[in-house]
Symmetry: C2
Subunit: 337 residues, 2 copies
């Protein structure tokens, strides 16, 4: 039979309420009592019943991770974030659920409300691009559900984790400039995503700093997908003055650019340097391997969850933590011929 809190109380010779206090790390228990109760719990291998705790205490010990499964970023990125969130939740004995939540389609808010009333999460972790969906943020505040964001566009009072994507983008374009490239193209991601904006801004910043005026023909719209990278590249290769290097806003599109280069008989990196952003496993498996920006996604998921959990447990308000990036230089970029 299951060991209940009452059994532990009897064994430690205290009231159930005191055991509950120890369980929840509450104040007003002498060290001696606390130790005795802890020992009893340990000895009996006591496991609190989550539903009972949740029902009586009016909280669920549940964190929901929300993602968009329609404009969603690469699944490996999400899987890594998820892994990090899970790790943090486990450490704090919270459980985690994942919720795909299609942003397009009018009933987004209704489905969010259903999530809340069906599962009562104590808090929510938002992943891009959901981090910036205003109606959702509004609803979260209204319903008083704490949340943390991974790479949100707006800073301010938001808690969670970011990386300086603009500086990273600038760094990768500077790498191309150092290799002697001047006609450097950029393939933009989905227009309103923060990732797209920052990466474009970093590109512009580096180009401007190098004294190169922007050539609108070299900045092409993409959509973060492989296919959109292929199409963007075709436009670029059809130009009279073709670029010598392309910086795509993510690895999938960069892969598309490399594919299109194959189509046009362009050798990477000899005839064309290509770089991406994200350092997906894929980027190491291409031939040649892709120069890109490594983002510590798993770590970012973990940090976002930790900020959320810290806030939930009243350890201060939580912050927006910034993590470093790494420029991964591989075979897809080389000096201009």
């Amino acid at each position: 039979m299951r060991v209940r809190l009452e059994d532990v109380a009897r064994a430690a010779n205290v009231s159930p309420k005191t055991v509950s206090r120890v369980l929840n790390d509450e104040a007003n228990v002498t060290d001696a009592t606390r130790e005795r109760v802890r020992a009893a719990m340990e000895a009996m291998d006591y496991r609190p019943h989550p539903s009972a705790r949740s029902l009586a205490g009016n909280r669920s010990f549940l964190v929901a991770m929300l993602y968009d499964n329609n404009d969603n970023p690469a699944s490996t990125y999400l899987a890594e974030i998820q892994d990090g969130v899970l790790e943090a939740c486990d450490a704090h004995r919270y459980s985690m659920m994942v919720r795909p939540l299609r942003m397009r389609g009018g009933d987004f808010i209704r489905r969010f409300d259903a999530l809340i009333s069906d599962h009562h999460p104590d808090g929510v972790v938002l992943t891009p691009p959901i981090t910036d969906y205003a109606p959702l943020l509004k609803r979260l505040r209204e319903s008083n559900v704490p949340y943390a964001s991974v790479s949100p566009q707006r800073r301010g009072k938001v808690i969670g984790v970011t990386m300086d994507e603009q500086r990273a983008a600038r760094a990768i374009v500077e790498h191309l400039l150092e290799l002697g490239h001047r006609r450097i193209a950029h393939v933009i991601g989905i227009a309103d995503h923060g990732a797209s904006r920052w990466r474009l801004a970093g590109y512009r910043e580096a180009m401007a700093a190098a004294g190169l005026p922007e050539d609108p023909a070299l900045v092409v719209q993409g959509a973060f997908t492989f296919g959109s990278g292929v199409e963007a590249a075709r436009k670029l290769f059809a130009l009279a003055k073709r670029p010598t290097a392309v910086f795509a806003a993510n690895d999938d599109m960069a892969t598309g650019v490399m594919w299109a280069a194959g189509e046009y008989g362009l050798k990477v990196p000899h005839d064309l340097s290509v770089c991406g952003f994200d350092d997906t496993p894929l980027s190491r498996q291409l031939w040649p391997a892709l120069t890109t920006i490594q983002q510590p996604s798993r770590e970012m998921g973990k940090i976002a969850a930790e900020q959320l959990l810290g806030a939930l447990r009243g350890h201060g308000a939580g912050q927006l933590v910034q993590v470093p990036f790494v420029l991964q230089i591989r075979g897809s970029t080389a000096a201009v011929p």
Copy 2:
């Protein structure tokens, strides 16, 4: 304030217990009453409190999806399975949690027990290679936790979903044979995984059927990773009589083979045909794109979860459903020169 079952009962002019019966689709409620209660629930947008239900009814409405995060298959594969499981759980108003569970390391069973006593899932979905880990299966039976498996090795009384991987492997090797290849190599996956065994068996079956004796030098051990594919390919390319085609047991290894081909100056598919297994998104993004076997992973996750949920809700015992595969012929395979 939250709408409770009691409120619905009052509105429908019945006892709380009757509302509970309607909620749980129990027998012995007249159609008229049932309809009246349903209408009241609808009108009040009633949402049962999961913890209360769980506490009183001694079940959790929770399904746990277990995966191995150390020998784990490609993350996109798992992400798709997860998506399917989630879809099925949602449809039946169950919640889902994901649990990475490292198979190596002695405390596997202890961590599994912790999962059960911490979260009380009503059932478990197993993904490969965890599906075949005997100590776990034993423990599941002992603790009487229902489970469904995705691609289990053992058949018998197991419920879940499979694909005829041997026949699929045979089909892809037959495709190579039809292109005129005779020296066809195979790169094996991690030895004791069902996937590796079936795919090897299919390869052998096709070769034997074509009257080709097995050349041990052409069958190389890999480990399902990109790197192991590269290494396996180097061994193959170093042979005096190099193969004209390679069938790798998954796409990651096939990608490694293509990479190694680049190293050796071999053109795919002109000098070497390569094919894989799984149809990961990656396989379409290579140049040339990879001939491979498409597995309906998402669908498989959904089916496994449905079998489990069906069994949980007493709709019969559940079955082992077999799903079809599709041979995706792409640019990486061509006629022998």
